[in-house]
Amino acid sequence: MSTRRLQKELLELKNEGAPAGIQLLKGDDFQSWILSIEVLGESLYKGDKFALEFRFDSQYPIAPPSVTFVVNEQFQAPEHPHVYSNGHICASILANEWSPVLTVSAVCITLQSMLASCKRKERPPDNDRYVARAPADPRRTRWAFHDDDV
């Protein structure tokens, strides 16, 4: 199921164009895509460009994709109370609130608005502790969701 659905999503992204501020950087297979994300308008992240990596397994879209911010020489994870310095994101739509009605671009838009509504640039309080023993796949983390605005 995953391949056909990703083909459709890719076609939609190419035909209709990605949402504003979002750009497909790598989408040549159906295992992993990379999209760049910018926050438009006035926000703490004005002028910053981040990259999101989506990894899909064969259960997609029944199972959520694994979504992280890319951390390498070119990109950094945004400083945000729900984003860990290793790029892991604490967002309920990527865990227990996932639904197959969501798409790659819908996830990007949600994360974009999560960044846009940020009031203070800071790491999650447990950042160091989490990063030291985080699993490679953030879907294996048991998140406790603190507030509902994400």
């Binding site: 995953s2 056909r4 659905r5 029944i62 227990n96 996932w98 197959p100 009605v101 969501l102």
Partner: protein, 477 residues
């Protein structure tokens, strides 16, 4: 005035499944027609198959369970219809309450374990072992072979008894294939009875040692032990065949995924979850709690996508039963109950045999030893005293013969006593069979429930028709 036009999912010009995002135009006719549903109050529609797949996977995920039947967009609750007989509900509740009991056992076990470490784990294990022997071999044999007086215990009791609970628990995992029965009683068949003053008169044999016949009824313990692997293999093959028949798994399925899961369901501080998946040969199945799952490609489903096997209802049913049915406490508690169950079933058979002479002779029920006038006890130790007249080689030969005879047929005491162990073993066998049948019934009902699930499709009542791309636009006023 005519009824207002209320379109349904079949009136849409283009349907797009919100799960797989496949589209179907109204004038297309796919080779295998698929069922479309509009299950909620908004404009989302889906393939019924995709939606059922999503619902089942959400139900299996504790954190998503309560949202499994909610539309992600409008929040309406899906109406799920299925063949869900009362018996399945009873079995589900039974399974859940046994699991709860298992959790209690686990919690008590932790508490008991702390106490045991303080007061000596060895002592706790040994006491349990003595209890198990009493349950399994019967009070009479317990008094003759072991008794409550520790000072009389044979030396091997101190090794055998504490190993009993350990082997009972291990026998429920897949790693150890011994049946609990073997460790339970084999070493007791050859044990010299301890003397109980007043009830037993010791007689020293002179020349003719009463060799026990090896082929007797009930079968000698050695015979049972030797036959056990064979019987158990045959039984597993039979139960697996019944299960495959009941679950509709083709018997040609080449490999299966065996699965044990010791888990405390749900979250919590005691979230122990030890899961192991491994491939194994088809016939190597375990009757104890582990669930045989059809391999992803062994199912009967024909799927269009090579990369995503559609979920097989048999596997999903097994998943459902396993999730409500697995907990560490249940495994350990269940294992430690085996002697009690055997004893209960043996007593039940004994009561039945009072009415059936045939059953009575099958169970070989005899009078208890101490009500007989002259208990004819032979003790190997007492017997085997070298006689001066014989050559030493003859003595060795005789010793070996007696040893072998005791090994194969048990001691005379063993052979003369009422074979409580035999009816307990038969009873335990019946219990295991009944339990496996119940498990298969539960699995097949759960599978049927999943297979017959249908999502109720609703009309687009209450939705602005301009939002919908309909085949036939209603005449606009």
């Amino acid at each position: 005035m005519a009824q207002p036009f209320v379109p349904t999912v079949n009136d849409l010009r283009v349907k797009m499944c919100y799960i797989c995002r496949e589209e179907e135009r109204y004038d297309e006719h796919p080779q295998s027609p698929v069922v479309w549903v509009h299950p909620c109050n908004c404009t989302l529609v889906a393939h019924e198959k995709c939606l059922l797949n999503w619902i089942q996977s959400s139900l299996e995920e504790p954190s998503r369970k309560n949202k499994a039947l909610k539309c992600p967009q409008c929040g309406a609750t899906y109406v799920l219809e299925s063949d869900n007989p009362a018996l399945l509900k009873i079995l589900n509740n039974l399974n859940a309450s046994v699991t709860l009991a298992g959790k209690v056992v686990f919690a008590c076990g932790i508490a008991g374990g702390v106490a045991a470490c303080a007061s000596g784990l060895y002592f706790v294990l040994t006491s349990y072992g003595a209890y198990a022997v009493q349950q399994f071999l019967g009070k009479e044999m317990y008094d003759v072979l072991l008794s409550d007086d520790i000072s009389r215990w044979p030396w091997h009791a101190f090794i055998n008894l504490p190993l009993i609970p350990v082997s009972l628990i291990l026998s429920r995992t897949k790693y150890v294939k011994t049946l609990p029965l073997i460790s339970m009683f084999y070493c007791w068949t050859t044990t010299t009875p301890i003397a109980i003053p007043g009830t037993i008169r010791w007689r020293l044999p002179v020349d003719d040692y009463p060799f026990q016949p090896i082929l007797t009824w009930p079968p000698s313990p050695a015979m049972v032990t030797a036959m056990l692997p064979l019987v158990s293999r045959g039984y597993h093959a039979l139960i697996q065949r019944i299960e495959h028949w009941a679950m509709g798994i083709p018997s040609t399925a080449p490999r299966r995924i065996g699965r044990i899961e010791l888990a405390l369901a749900d979250a919590g501080p005691l979230n122990v979850r030890i899961a192991a998946n491994f491939l194994e040969d088809g016939e190597d199945a375990d009757a104890d709690g582990a669930v045989i799952q059809a391999g992803a490609n062994g199912g009967q489903n024909q799927q269009q996508d090579a990369d995503a096997p559609a979920r097989d209802p048999a596997a999903a049913a097994a998943e459902t039963v396993r999730i409500t049915g697995s907990s560490l406490g249940r495994y350990i508690g269940g294992a430690l109950l085996i002697p009690r169950i055997a004893s209960f079933m043996g007593e039940f058979l004994f009561q039945l045999s009072l009415r059936s002479p045939m059953l009575r002779s099958f169970l070989a029920i005899r009078q208890p030893l101490n009500t007989r006038r002259a208990p004819n006890f032979w003790s190997l130790m007492n017997f085997y005293q070298p006689k001066t007249a014989d050559g030493s080689w003859r003595q060795v030969g005789l010793g070996v013969r007696i040893g072998l005879n005791v090994l194969l047929a048990g001691t005379k005491t063993w052979a003369d006593a009422d074979p409580v162990w035999w009816r307990n073993s038969v009873g335990l066998g019946i219990f295991i069979f009944a339990r496996d049948c119940l498990r298969i019934l539960h699995l097949s009902l759960a599978k049927r429930e999943i297979e017959t699930r249908r999502i109720k499709s609703r009309t687009f009542a209450g939705i602005d028709l301009k939002e919908l791309d309909l085949i036939n636009r209603p005449p606009t006023q």
